[in-house]
Symmetry: C2
Subunit: 445 residues, 2 copies
């Protein structure tokens, strides 16, 4: 490919600065570049080599900056941006029964669409290129993501009682199946089957969810073992832990994504590992709601795939995955009284490859490798709080925040350039959500 | 003051948006303003009332934004920006002995000056208007702060062995005394006596430090009860805990500021309360170094004044007090398995009034009140991740980061306007620190 050979035409070459690939061997190019054609990465390497081999329509140049795979927020309820800060610092029961549930009774397709659009703006601005969402009106979530060019795994939340969206419980699976069919083969949007919890879904509903997920080969995503009370109640009702309950229902397999996984016994963790299920760790939500510290170090030690998520804005209260990485890395160190656990490179892997594997997207995203989708973010390295640079993983996990992201590509499309959102109107989403908020609760001091 | 009365001339009127005063009654003005004359606040109130009563040379208008007192970073080693990310995820002994101590042997007055300048840029950019620093070459720290118009409490770190700055140990107190005299009556810079720890300072040195602090009525600031090992060693050596050791040396009084305070018995906390000492909580450093969780909820319950600090960049790795507030609020919730502890308004008080009280600056800063210094920050409220707004305290603690600060005043001087630093050259500080970093350790992957 050297010498007189003709450069291969591509659409975009993006060059650093550092390129952190997160490929299997963890390659980092001190002065790297990526060639992109259509939605996919063609090559990753030293900038000199890439620019010799390829000729691009568009060159994006970021000397002194850090280029890495887009982050994957593996668990959120995006439209809950509408409830950000509505009720905090309260006992869980009061928070849920007196604030969240009444607020959620007011939701509509419009609120979900605009709340999700606002969340997508926030996520792109903070370097997330894929999110996995569980909420009502999942069709509106998919629509908002598709319009913004955002990669998403969506699913309608299912439970034993009527839904504001699909009405009586028996309609939920039908709604989900239609959603799966609508988005079948879409390059950006995946649909998953998403029962809410083991305490809001009967064994019969869970079994039917599992059947649907198997029939269409989708993920089966559920809040699992989030609180002590959930585990105690499950043991009283079914005589087993939530994980064992899913095993008994034959739902423990590689399709299963367990959100939270805070209260897990050694045997639970062994079962998750043995059956290839994933756990989505949401440290800030677990801390703020005082659920507990998920046994992430133990899960990783036992070989379970772990992803990272922010949970919804009502329990965080933002969607910044950089802050989530920082908190995860620090929380487990103090929990184990061991500063060596969850080192920075491992935490970055949870927020990228871990999420991709959980969502069955590792063939598409989670690292910068030829053949994968061009989901790429650029960190502005020329800032006081990112100076000096000794170790790029430390810098990304412990010093950076989402506000340091300057440019974002999803599937080869530049969705943000130098902090300017190109695929959605954040001002309109903010105006719409402020109007919903005024109806939900006037500002009080 | 109404009707035909002549408006009083002032220098600046800054108007919101919300004005969060943090005064004794916790007043918040939904559309507030502040009148400033010279370095001080003349009045705080409803914007309409302020603009009727005062006529300003300069009007700064921030509709839709949030105005609050500047944050106080009550414990840091500012120049350690030079070691940001140099060595992470390591056991404490290896981190200290193989990385921090060798790096610190290379420091010079120039490194401290530029490292501190970089830290001040970072702190102003993230809404801190006062910092309390412990480091070598404290004269260079004071100089950097003074030049940047930053409020600071500085102190030369003292211990029983020779210092790169002042040489043999006996020179340390003399150096400190000269520093106190040099900065006597400065409106921005205070000097404190700062022995390093009870295990690096003999009882004799500690006693002489206490005498010096008493003679000049300064704060006496020390790392105290940071690790289990410190407490165990103290008990073996002196038969008492570190707090009791200071009591025995007659150093436990309102002048004492105990940094970290992680490992404190009930009796230690009672002693701190009884004698009016302050504790500076550094949650992110304590988490990252795996020191433990300081008993902040218990300290506050027992009436101890608590401030908040980031510690140095080697153990954090940034100086963002908004992230520190978020982490503090969440850490204690999960530690106590109680979502009601450390609610957002209380955490904001730790980062403002708590710090001011610890540093004997509550008459000057920590709240927006007539007669106090105009140390004021403005948060850009018109952003996706700060939308909608139900509760301003939740928004500041759980959703905002330092990057949301748009304008900063210290002692009535606008030091940052719309993210542009006006009193220091961040680019030069970054260039200088990068050069020091290249000498310390070349970039490795």
């Amino acid at each position: 490919m050297r010498g007189g050979s003709v450069p291969q035409p591509v659409d975009i070459i993006i060059r650093g600065g550092l390129v952190v690939t997160l490929n299997d061997s963890g390659e980092v190019y001190p002065a790297g570049a990526i060639a992109i054609k259509g939605d996919a990465i063609v090559a990753v390497g030293e900038a000199g080599d890439i620019t010799r081999r390829f000729a691009a329509r568009t060159e994006l140049s970021y000397p002194g900056d850090i280029i890495l795979p887009g982050l994957i927020n593996a668990h959120t309820h995006a439209a809950m941006t509408c409830f950000r800060g509505l009720a905090d610092d309260l006992p869980l029961e009061i928070w849920l029964n007196e604030h969240m549930f009444p607020a959620e009774r007011q939701i509509s397709r419009e609120l979900v669409y605009w709340g999700t659009s606002l969340a997508i703006a926030e996520m792109i601005l903070s370097g997330t290129t894929t999110f996995c969402d569980m909420y009502l009106f999942a069709d509106a979530v998919a629509q908002a993501a598709k319009e913004a060019g955002m990669r998403a795994v969506v699913g309608e939340v299912l439970y034993d009682f009527p839904s504001t969206n699909y009405g009586p419980p028996e309609n939920g699976l039908k709604f989900t199946e239609e959603l799966i069919r609508t988005w079948h083969d879409d390059p950006l949007i995946q649909v998953a089957v998403q029962p809410h919890t083991i305490y809001t879904c009967s064994p019969d509903l869970l079994t039917r969810c599992g059947d649907l997920a198997e029939r269409y080969d989708t993920r089966l995503i559920i809040h699992l073992a989030e609180t002590r009370r959930e585990v105690t109640d499950c043991q009283e009702r079914f005589g087993v832990t939530p994980v064992q309950h899913l095993l008994d229902l034959e739902l423990l397999n590689t399709r299963l994504v367990a959100d939270h996984g805070v209260v897990l016994s050694t045997q639970d963790r062994e079962l998750l590992a043995e059956h290839g299920a994933s756990v989505v760790h949401c440290p800030e939500s677990n801390m703020k709601l005082a659920s507990g510290v998920a046994p992430v170090v133990e899960l990783l030690g036992q070989g379970v795939n772990v992803a990272l998520g922010t949970d919804g804005c009502a329990s965080n209260n933002n969607l910044d995955m950089f802050q989530e990485m920082d908190t995860a890395a620090k929380l487990h160190k103090v929990h184990h009284l061991d500063p060596t656990v969850l080192p920075a490179p491992e935490v970055l892997r949870l927020a990228t490859r871990g999420g991709a594997q959980a969502l069955n997207l590792l063939h598409r995203t989670g690292s910068l490798e030829p053949g994968k989708q061009a989901d790429i973010i650029v960190i502005d390295g020329d800032q006081p709080h990112l100076t000096p640079l000794y170790n790029v993983y430390s810098q990304l996990v412990y010093a950076a925040t989402g506000a340091d992201v300057r440019t974002v590509l999803i599937a080869g499309q530049v969705v943000m350039q130098d902090r300017r959102l190109l695929t959605l109107d954040a001002a309109e989403a903010m105006a719409q959500v402020r109007e919903f908020a005024r109806q939900i609760k006037p500002l009080a001091h």
